[in-house]
Amino acid sequence: MALPKSLVATLTPDELTFLAEEDRVQIVPLFSMTRVRLLSGIYGPFQPPSATTVPLWLALSLKKKRKCRIVPPEWMSADRLQALLKDEKENAEGFEPLPRRFIETSKVLLDLASDDLYSPTMLRSLLKDLREVRQAKIRLGLQSEGVMRGSYLQVTNLTPLELSELKPFLVKAMGMMQSLEPRGDEEEGQGNDGALGGYTQQSI
């Protein structure tokens, strides 16, 4: 098949990390080099004490060669994360707005550049707490009455990674619910996509 089944439903965490690696990050190079022109832009010059902005993948590749120090994003500090965690816990109704790819970014930074972070263990546990608080909220939200009834869900401030975890389940569930609904108004535009409720419709 052109696209493996496992990739059809949603983007995988690896692919999301790939996207996160396109984001820009500040580095302090430990070597000097003139500017380099890549497809996505011109980066550099790399001159030791002064910082420069590069895509995350470039920063990580330099980091692996011990040629730079990555300046962690502003939200990746214990203080900020503690504040975010507190807000997240207090906000029972919704989710706190977080950087779009905070899970992916923090994961690769903790894995590959933990020596550039201030107290990485602390950060790791804070990020884990933050993620678990949000996951608990998601689970609670899904249990509430009526979420599965319609075919619409507001998911503001959830990050793409969290959404991609949920998407296959939600899409499937919504398809099921739709096919169980009394027929009538859904005649137009009704495809018979075998992957989604099509079978159910036939067998009912």
Binding site: A2, T10, T34, L38, L39, Y152, Q154, T156, L170
Partner: protein, 317 residues
Amino acid sequence: MSSFFDDDDEDESLPVARRQAGPPQQWGNGAKASSSRSLSREQSLVSESSLEVGGGGTGSRSFLTRLESTISPRRGRYSESIGLDSVLDGEDAAHDIGIGHEDNDELDLDLDDDPDLDDVQRMCRVWVKERGTVDIMQWEGDLMDTLFDKLEQQAKMVNTLRSDPQTSEEEHFKLVLVQTEMERVKFLIRSYVRTRLSKIEKYCQYILSTPTVHPLLSGAEMSHAKRYAELLHTHFQHSVLDSLPEWLRGMEDTYGDGMSMVAKPNKNVPVLIYCRKDCGEITLEGGEAAALAKGTTHLVKYNLVESWINLGWAEVL
């Protein structure tokens, strides 16, 4: 030598039009520099070979010709790529400016950051959009052409610079970076094309029977859809249909309950969208309204937000 490495201190904030004036000149210099360098190298080689007694002569001679053969075509390539690149950049600039104007005319100024995106980021968006939806999206021909051209140029330069013994350590390091990025972009393109291919194969009958979908596909994709549908049809006929009674042989029949044999994209499948602009309200099937305010994220049936997605106001996640 300075092909894609910027050695001069040109300012990035310069307008695009002025920036383009830079590279051709710079490359001209590069070509000249390399040719003069090759001259001195030939001289040094000659002196070396004259020092060597015996069999060395033929060896260094063949090395000389090899050197020449790597250099002379490169000179040609430089001039070629100068032309190509300036044309390309010109198109790019025109494209960018075009988008910018449209945005200024039609939409609010501050909301859209599209013109700031580079090609790779744009490609990421396009890919995510294709992956996130069930329907077939518009084929991004211009973007693909630009990326392919750039990739090809990069590949040529990497090859010439790599085989050139004159390339310095620093440049070899840059080459590694360039190649890493090329692989990333290639992955994106591959995955994008494969996603489209799987959709096309799945819905080939629907595509062929619906003329409104045809402009969404590239020429190659269209001919693939045709050939694939043909193959599938002949296969079914040979294996099963020919041995069935005449009235059971149809491949595009519709059952009594309105189910068709032609698989088409189910536009009721929900998509995840992030509203980059205020998209107003949509009416759900229950009669309820949902506001798609700027900066909010929704999981909503594709057919309800199709127009916003196509406008780019809603970004697929």
